[in-house]
């Protein structure tokens, strides 16, 4: 069943190629099917996961290259199940937004499904080789999707994003190969490696030497300061559904892989660099927050805001305590859903007005009440207001990291104030006040197809805001076992 998560979108994409271009409804139906079936599977997996037992479940394995110890093995633990659920929500909502593409719909949906499948691959694989393979596969659709269907400065944004992420990826690949070679286990299997390295850890100096390759390599996609600069530009250039997937899910692959590979396999190495990582995330939180205050373009602002939020997640990872890690994982989930919702709303605005400056809008609360409500809700979630799941997550990060980095946590709490500053100001400008501009044509989202993606995302935020146990009961045992602590 876990294989199906990856391969349903892939095969749907292939089927899509045989549908003629002039049958848009059939194309869109297929795309929704390709993203919707895995969504349903994820829900089933989420409710059938045995929380009492914990560990990796739904495992299966196909021998792939036996001579090198590579097998296509899949399985989900609390962390990856949470992220699969996040991806299921965002990619299903994103599929609805993708169907709004009018220009060259077929190749766009094709690339979208390939991207969706590859991301499921990353979150469900338990083999380092396949983790990397699917991770890099996401690049194939990303470049053309941004460069062709994007807006403003799209070629520069697409190239910058691709090159940054690739440069990070190949560093990480080097790190993975070194790890494989040094572990002397002749296996890329994540679980086997974790067990082996837990009983006989690698030489500390080697860990210290190797950890930066993984931390920076995957830190790039997590927009770790100072290698974050691809992110706001890339998001500003990308079409709506790509911004949603990228800010919502792709970025979370960075912390996820750091957690899986660096924290689990090279704990002493990460410990050695944790101060540096924490300082960098602290700078990221404040710097990107400040940069967001100065933005006049909504997409740039949300882009910087996501860099700033990723700082909290990385801070939680740097602290390496069970509480902070659990906070980081649940923030990955709630920030992902929230960012996707925000980009979806901006997408609606931009599609109709081709404007996205903060000052271009005003009085949207009267003009398009549904969209404005969603925007306000997403902003409040981003602020970490109680009632949304972000609040719980951020609190856990602060509590968990306090002992290790009190100063940085203090600054990070201050970062929330900055977030409040730019978000409240934006909400005020965009949603309240007099109606600016002549947006007589601007229509609110109407009908099931337009409202559903936003309802889906914000609903999930609310549900897990009031029912944090739903996620935390998954995350906490998994995080503890990845740290090697008996829960």
């Amino acid at each position: 069943m876990v294989y199906a998560l990856t391969w349903i979108p892939f095969f749907t994409a292939l089927t899509l190629l045989f549908v003629p271009e002039n049958r848009p409804n059939r194309l869109k139906g297929l795309a929704l099917l390709g993203a919707g079936l895995p969504f349903i599977i994820c829900l089933i997996l989420f409710f059938s996961f045995d929380r009492a037992a914990g560990g990796y479940q739904f495992r299966s394995s196909l021998p792939w290259i036996p001579s090198l110890g590579i097998s296509y093995s899949v399985g989900l633990d609390g962390i990856s199940l949470t992220l699969c659920l996040l991806h299921a929500l965002v990619s299903f909502a994103g599929a609805f937004m993708s169907c709004r593409t009018s220009d060259r719909t077929k190749p766009y949906l094709f690339f979208y499904l390939i991207l969706t499948g590859a991301i499921y691959g990353v979150f469900s694989c338990l083999d380092l080789f396949f983790l990397y393979l699917f991770y890099e596969t996401t690049l194939i659709p990303l470049y053309p999707m941004i460069a062709v269907w994007g807006s403003r400065n799209k070629e520069y944004g697409a190239m910058k994003l691709t090159l940054f992420i690739t440069a990070g990826a190949v560093m990480a690949l080097f790190g993975i190969i070194m790890l494989y070679h040094t572990a002397q286990l002749q296996s890329f299997d994540l679980i086997a490696l974790t067990e082996k390295l837990r009983s006989t850890p690698l030489n500390k100096n080697f860990q210290v030497w190797l950890a930066p390759f993984i931390l920076i390599g995957f830190g790039v996609i997590a927009s770790l300061w100072p290698v974050h600069s691809w992110s706001p530009i890339g998001y500003a250039a990308a079409p709506t559904s790509v911004s949603m997937l990228h800010a919502g899910v792709l970025k979370k692959m960075g912390p996820y892989l750091i957690l899986r590979i660096a924290v689990a396999l090279l704990p002493q190495g990460v410990q050695h660099w944790s101060h540096v990582l924490a300082v960098l995330s602290g700078i990221g939180i404040l710097y990107a927050g400040y940069a967001a205050v100065r933005q006049t373009d909504l997409k740039f602002m949300i882009g910087f805001s996501s860099v700033s939020h990723m700082g909290y997640i990385l801070l939680g990872i740097a602290a390496m305590t069970p509480v902070s890690l659990a906070g980081a994982v649940s923030l990955m989930f709630s920030h992902g859903v929230m960012a996707a919702a925000t980009f979806a709303v901006i997408g609606f605005f931009y599609e109709q007005t081709h404007k996205r400056g903060v000052l271009d809008f005003g009085g949207m609360g009267k003009k398009v009440p549904f969209l404005a409500t969603c925007f306000i809700m997403a902003s409040f979630a981003s602020l970490g207001l109680p009632g949304f799941s972000n609040f719980v997550a951020e609190l856990m990060i602060f509590v968990g990291s306090w002992r290790s980095f009190p100063v940085i946590v203090g600054l990070a709490v201050f970062g929330i104030l900055i977030t409040a500053l730019y978000l409240l100001r934006t909400v005020q400008h965009v949603c309240y006040g007099p109606l600016r501009g002549s947006w007589t044509e601007l229509k609110d989202a109407s009908g099931f197809f337009q409202k559903f993606p936003l309802v889906l995302l914000l609903g999930a935020l609310m549900i897990f805001g009031f029912w944090p146990r739903g996620l935390l009961s998954l995350i906490q045992p998994a995080v503890a076992s990845s740290l090697g602590v008996v829960p």
Binding site: L133, T137, L139, I140, P144, M171, L173, I177, H181
Partner: protein
Amino acid sequence: MMPELKAMLPEWIGLAVLCWMFTVELLHGDAPRDPKTKGVYRVPVGGLAVIVLSLLFVCGKKAAAFGGIFQSDMPAVSMKLFFSAAAFFLLPMFRKYFTDAGPRLSEFLLVFWICFLGMFFLVSSRDFLLLFISLEIVTLSFYIMTSYAKKDTESIEAGLKYLILGSLASAFMIFGISLLYAATGSTAFEAVRVAFTADPQNTLMLIGLLLILSALGFKIAAVPFHLWAPDVYQGAPPPVAAFLAVGSKAAGIMVLINLLSDVFGAFEPGRKMLFSVLAFMTILYGNLGALVQTNIRRLFGYSSIGHAGYLLIALAANPQDGYAAAFYYLMAYAVSTLTAFYVINITVQAVGSSAIADFRGLASRSPWLAGAMFMALLSLAGVPPLAGFAGKFFVLLAAVKAGLTALALTGALAVAVSLFYYLNVVRVMYVDESIKESPVPITLSDKVILTVLMAGMILIGFYQSPFLQISLRAVSAAK
């Protein structure tokens, strides 16, 4: 059966086809156009199919001919299968390039076939003289093929440059061989191996070895013997450039593997050091040089240097993993390069120029061609799940296993560099508006061939296991 007949069955078939081609040329040599017989194209294709069958027949049996100077073993047969597979895709490219107006296809195919057979002898030779002669057959045919577009000055220029530098390389080669002969009194691989193993510090033999390696470095376009590559790739007809990339480079690598693993197996640790340095320079030069190119064929000239660098990393690594990785890399490189040149061949004829800028809007003019090119470029850059990724992965793995950490890191980072210039072509094809809206025509057979190549890229890139087995067996005897 005579041993000569048994070991050389594929070669005899090839020679028979060659005789037929000669006869047709003799009978119709003064005709301005291709002789009306359809056989001009069909006989080589059919001959190729029979050769593949006969290769499968001799596969797995070690046999020698002509007193041991010709040997048919697993590495040689694998390489011959490799060349034949490539030829299946090259022949339609040649037919497309040589339309009615240009030079005659029949004459060109004759030269191609001679070159093709030369490669067969090259990978089977167990004697330096046979090695030299077959290498010369290959190289001489390439001089002719490179300058075959007689009315195109770039093509003539490329041929001349290739000739001058190639002659120099040949001179190195023969001088190296004569030094080896002076030291050992024999040109047979076995005799040289015995002498070299007994005394690996012998100066005369080491100089001979270095000269021979230089000549082979020329064949695979390794820095500092790379100068011809960009010019020749740019000037030669696209199918010939593809053949250079796939055939000539692969043959050079296989001869290097043969020599290093067998005759000069005692050349340690010199091999590791020498090839590490060469690989480092070659990767950097090829990838950095390609960054600023504006001509697609010249870009591929530089990129072929960059890929030679990865192959050299594999040669610097430990023999068992490294050589298998090199063979795997060759397969991946071949299928991606053939795809790319198949598209270039059609597009250059349709737009009449090989400037990258003239590829603009290809995606709307022909989604098939642009799609295939997109995959080929990403595969060459090493993006999974395409062939190039698996090739690079095995090469880097072999390098790390051999302790060549810095080299592996260089190779990994060069992927990011190469992605820039490959994506640049993608950008031109997909993003830029085209000047002409007229579609670029492609036939059904083009679609079939491109589909096979694309499927090959995904298979080699994603279902690695069987291809890895092939690679391991291909270099198994060469230990």
